[in-house]
């Protein structure tokens, strides 16, 4: 492949690549901090009612009907070709009935497509659980990678592989979240599922490159071949780059199919995964491995 011979520029200009990623993560963080995540009702508590009509009434009629019934603080949005979605705070069973009947506008047959009401405590719990899961997965990965690379202690300790894997992982999560926040995507449960899948894919990608480094290191040791760590890493990237690009290409194909032709409910999910796959592949090539070479002390690096 053409790429195999031109991979050394990655380790050579690693400072640029790492800075580029750092800037993106920083921007992502600022965007998330400034705009804030648009939590769906699954996280905040609240109610969503989705209805469809035989003949869709004008949005103003719906709004008037709702405010007449006493629902002032509600969000009404068109949904699909023939329906509306109404979002409110958590409401009682009686209020729900009132809400449904006020949506039942004369002259048009209405059917309820979906109603979802989440109590505040359930929402809080989901947020906490998602965070716990994220932390647990990260810790589990550091420990496993440190264990899997336990025989590789030179030139850097096996712990650092785990830590780099997690840095890449955070990178792969923060940048997509930043982009999704800019796009105004609502955070629902499937969004979280998407982020969690990115976790798995990101580590998968990173470990494949690390494994190649591990193999070269032990090969070099056997043959008593002296090679700078930077060169080993550069070679490993070159040897795995075709695979990285191909794997993400096949994933992207599936995800694009899912995004454009899949169910409306999983559209956000496919978008999250699309971004995650792109960023994840990028980070396994341009961030994780260069970071490893950065972590080697100056002296060890110069050793030839």
């Amino acid at each position: 492949m053409v790429l195999t011979n031109s991979h050394m520029f990655i380790t050579k200009y690693r400072k640029w690549f790492i800075s580029f990623s750092a800037v993106l993560v920083l921007i992502g963080g600022i965007v998330i901090g400034a705009i804030g995540l648009d939590y769906g009702i699954e996280f905040t508590g609240g109610s969503v009612l989705e209805v469809s009509y035989e003949q869709k009434p004008e949005i103003d009629i719906v709004k008037t009907s709702l405010s007449e019934a006493g629902f002032e603080n509600v969000l009404v949005q068109p949904f699909g070709d023939d329906g509306y979605v109404v979002k409110t705070q958590t409401i009682s069973e009686e209020d729900r009935k009132a809400l449904v009947s006020s949506m039942n506008i004369a002259g048009s047959e209405m059917s309820i497509e979906r109603y979802n009401s989440i109590g505040p405590s359930v929402g809080r719990e989901l947020r906490t659980k998602s965070l716990y899961a994220l932390i647990a997965v990260s810790l589990g990965i550091i420990l496993f990678v440190a264990y899997a690379f336990r025989k590789v202690t030179y030139p850097i300790s096996s712990w650092k592989y785990g830590i780099v894997a997690v840095i890449a992982l955070l990178h792969d999560i923060i940048i997509p979240i930043g982009i999704l926040t800019l796009l105004g995507t609502e955070v629902d449960t499937l969004y979280v599922v998407g982020l969690l899948s990115i976790l798995g894919l990101s580590v998968n990608d990173t470990i494949v490159v690390f494994d190649r480094i591990r193999e070269s290191l032990s090969d070099n040791k056997e043959k008593n071949k002296k090679e700078s760590f930077t060169k080993t890493v550069g070679n490993a990237i070159g040897q795995t780059i075709t695979r990285s690009i191909f794997t993400s290409l096949t994933l992207l194909v599936v995800l694009l199919a899912l995004y454009f032709r899949g169910p409306a409910a999983t559209q956000t999910l496919s978008l999250v995964l699309l971004l995650g796959t792109l960023v994840g592949t990028y980070s396994s090539i341009f961030l994780a491995s260069p970071l490893l070479t950065m972590l080697v002390g100056k002296k060890k690096k110069e050793l030839k």
Partner: protein, 471 residues
């Protein structure tokens, strides 16, 4: 070599067999779809346990679940799911919840009402002899349509249980006396004990006290039915049908059934709390209309098949023969997974299907890793057979470690996750486990069965095993 070819053939046969089975059994044993795909209602109640002694919480929760479950079953809803859950994350202290899943119930009013009704305590008297005869005849007729020998076990699918139950329930007719007039229930033990293993074992009985109006109704009921049975029904089910010996005044009734002390205790508790053993409050509901779920399934299946075909095209164009074999192995992988979804069975939700699709991606990745390694070995001049063997050997460490890390993620997600995340983690984790097997074993045997063992491969073979457009 023959052995390898036989094994390779067996794998393909397995794939075809499973595929055929999955297709054939779609009518008798369809995939189990979650509420988000099949339509239905999902209700979460918070149980108020503030007045309950801590040691009795789990018993009360079980009693609550049983009551609700019985009530839902009485309405004939297919495969309802009632669970109790304890939550301590993200809530103050801990919270006991009751989760009710009602597939097919897309009208929330119905669902909430179904659960919200108070339990029914009813007293019924025997129907007239003519009526009893009619019921007997009809029952006989119903059973005679079955061609079974006496003493043979009958599968519930052959008998219309509901029709039989409906007939049986006509044996008793309603009386005005109901749980509305119940003042309290008490657990007692019958004074006339039975000799049991040398000690006196007394039988648990449930003593009911009626209020004044109830007492009068009870007296009338017993007076009219001396020598006959009176059925006592809880939630519509006969729990006891004692024979009335004499007219009873004073508003004291006793339920003497073949129940254990625990059962009696539970029943007393349920009766005394009026409605349910623990007050419950609806905190979350989710209703998915029937069309929404069906649309999601259709779109999901379409996108999944489209995605697989596109991946297949990419793989074959780029990796040629190994690519074709990877596609076959993926096909076998998909049939194994679908078969497991059916036979375990795993309830499929949109999140679960996503986990499965991602696991396909990881299965493809394992193949790509192997093929890249094979290519390297071929370049070094190995025979196609040796290249396959070496390629697998070298790629194994990567596949193993990468997949173990994904499995670790799946385990933690399953552990900490909510129901939806659990569904994802399950299919994702299972998918990776199976894909490790199919990528490493099935692809390997298929490739080996076609490879040439000795000497340099022919030009054609090298073309087949090579990849890319450039060479």
């Amino acid at each position: 070599m023959l052995k390898i070819r036989l094994i390779a053939f067996a794998f393909i046969a397995l794939g075809i067999f499973l595929g055929g089975y999955i297709y054939q059994s779609q009518d008798t044993q369809p995939f189990k779809l979650g509420l988000d795909l099949s339509g239905g209602s999902y209700l979460v109640y918070r149980a108020d346990i503030s007045d309950i002694d801590e040691s009795e919480v789990s018993d009360s929760m079980d009693a609550l679940r049983d009551t609700i479950e019985r009530r839902i079953n009485a309405f004939g809803i297919a495969e309802p799911n009632v669970n109790t859950e304890k939550h301590s994350l993200g809530v103050d202290g801990s919270e006991q919840r009751l989760v009710v899943e009602l597939p097919g119930v897309t009208d929330l009013d119905d669902a909430v009402e179904l659960i919200g009704q108070t339990p029914l305590l009813e007293f019924k008297s025997e129907a007239s002899p003519e009526e009893q005869n009619r019921i007997d005849e009809e029952l006989q007729e119903l059973i005679s349509t079955l061609s079974v020998e006496e003493g043979e076990l009958v599968s519930t699918q052959d008998v219309d249980i509901n029709a039989i139950m409906a007939l049986e329930s006509q044996r008793y007719v309603s009386s005005p006396l109901t749980g509305k007039y119940l003042e309290k229930a008490q657990l007692q033990f019958s004074q006339a004990g039975v000799q049991f293993g040398g000690s006196l074992q007394s039988q648990p009985i449930i003593a009911l006290s009626f209020d004044r109006e109830g007492a009068q109704l009870f007296e009338e009921l017993t007076r009219d039915n001396v020598g006959k049975t009176i059925a006592i029904l809880l939630d519509g089910i006969v729990v006891s049908a004692p024979v009335v010996n004499q007219s009873i005044s004073g508003g004291q009734a006793i339920i003497e059934g073949a129940f254990t002390i625990d059962e009696a205790k539970e029943t007393v508790g349920r009766l005394n709390s009026g409605a349910l053993p623990i007050p419950i409050e609806l905190i979350s509901t989710n209703t998915i209309g029937p069309t929404l779920g069906q649309d999601a399934v259709n779109a999901g299946v379409f996108a999944g098949v489209l995605g697989l075909i596109l991946v297949g095209i990419v793989l074959i164009l780029w990796y040629r023969l190994p690519g074709l074999i990877a596609v076959i192995a993926l096909g076998i992988y998909t049939t194994i997974m679908l078969w497991m979804f059916k036979s375990i069975p795993i309830t499929l939700t949109s999140a679960g299907i996503t986990g499965f699709i991602i696991s396909i991606g990881i299965a493809v990745d394992a193949n790509i890793l192997i093929f890249e390694r094979m290519k390297e070995e071929l370049k070094k001049g190995a025979s196609s057979y040796a290249a396959v063997e070496l390629g697998f050997k070298r790629a194994w460490a990567s596949i193993r470690d990468a997949n173990i890390s994904s499995i670790i993620s799946a385990v933690f997600l399953f552990w900490f996750g909510t129901a939806l995340i659990k569904g994802f983690a399950l299919t994702f984790g299972l998918g990776i486990l199976i894909s490790m097997f199919t990528a490493v074993t099935i692809t390997r045997f298929l490739l080996l069965s076609l490879a040439k063992k000795k000497g340099k491969s022919s030009k054609f073979m090298r073309f087949l095993y090579h990849s890319g457009f450039n060479k």
